[in-house]
Symmetry: C2
Subunit: 259 residues, 2 copies
Amino acid sequence: MNIGLIGSGNVATHLGLALHNNGHRVVQVYSRNLTHAQALASQLQAQAIDSIEALDITLDIYIIAVKDGAISTIAAQLTAFNLQGTVVHTSGSTDIAVLSGVGQNTGVLYPLQTFSKAQTIDFKKVPLLLEASNPHVLAQLDELAKGLSPHIYHYSSAQRRSLHLAAVVACNFSNYLYSVANQYLNEQGVSFDLLKPLILETAQKVQQHAPITVQTGPAVRGDQAILDMHLNMLQQQPELQQLYQVLSEGIGKLHQQEI
Amino acid sequence: MNIGLIGSGNVATHLGLALHNNGHRVVQVYSRNLTHAQALASQLQAQAIDSIEALDITLDIYIIAVKDGAISTIAAQLTAFNLQGTVVHTSGSTDIAVLSGVGQNTGVLYPLQTFSKAQTIDFKKVPLLLEASNPHVLAQLDELAKGLSPHIYHYSSAQRRSLHLAAVVACNFSNYLYSVANQYLNEQGVSFDLLKPLILETAQKVQQHAPITVQTGPAVRGDQAILDMHLNMLQQQPELQQLYQVLSEGIGKLHQQEI
């Protein structure tokens, strides 16, 4: 398919490259910043544009991969074109309805993964969540997506929003806990490297087991002596002490529910 | 070396098997529960005992791998034997001093990993933290440990305690967040399976990068519209709403410090 890519950030880059490597033709890359557009377009043998007016209106699919807050602005700009092609966005938290003024054929292609330019991603392992304004578009998105990943899901905007919230809790917040542990260990003169195998194993365990069944640590054991010792060790770090208290209480409550 | 294993739980099992497979001879396995002792001893071609009085006092090393709270009880029982061999415990949070009454040769061998009987562990990837009452014992523990894992560290009881606290924060608490996300998704009719690749990628990212440098999500972007939407979506889940608020504020503060 002939594709117009609107955006040049992490998602646009990883998605554009995956589509390009899958035999699709990314015809144009749009960014407000021409240098950014060119950097990505050159990798995709595409044309870089920094004006929406320069958009080729004959393409099959336009993919809006910009910050959540900018999607409605792009959608408003596209309204004038009366596009026949499909217009999709790639956001977990944005309703498909944001595109309703753009045309009849709209959808969402949400890759549920954390993208950073430093790290390559195996798209075959990325769940792709699709939503479409009509069955024709859904079939088209299925066709596009199935070359990228075998993990295709059809979910509503509401479900996608829930999933994005859960991803923030399970992943963004976990990474924050890694940061807090790293900072604390630096203060204690201990290398964060020692924690890395344990962090990986903790994530690997829940690939096979429900997380509630593999909870370990003093809070789930009800080991009050260790909990008290840890809280006492954190008297000079009141914020971490509070975090420790809140999360340990949460574990205690969750597992009481289970018993 | 000839080893006496005191305990038959997860750590005793994984450590005993690793030592056995490394050519060491586990001579005895002690547990208060003879059936538990036998279950492990049979895998190690060792003798199962359920009475401390039956302990062979000629062994090179005695490894106390029991719950933290039970270590001092075992140590008190061993005092009477006047053991010449080395006595170690395997606890992150317990001071080496708990063993001071047992003899001259004491130490700690702390494998920093989360063990469950359901999951096999590649010991070669497990950091082993050693501490000893004298240089002779440290050399002996180095010799024992280096066959199990190349990741050997010498740390004091205070540093080991800090590391254990950090492990609770980075790993036990992350697993709790996975559980909370799982529960929330169940309520929303969305499969937790979709989050699994993202959870794994989040843990993999920090193997190569400092966690603070790869933080993603609405809180670090300062995306107040998404934060407000998420808090609003959680009005029926006040505990999760509070957790979301506390952790998002934490991310905001941590990254303000950095700027």
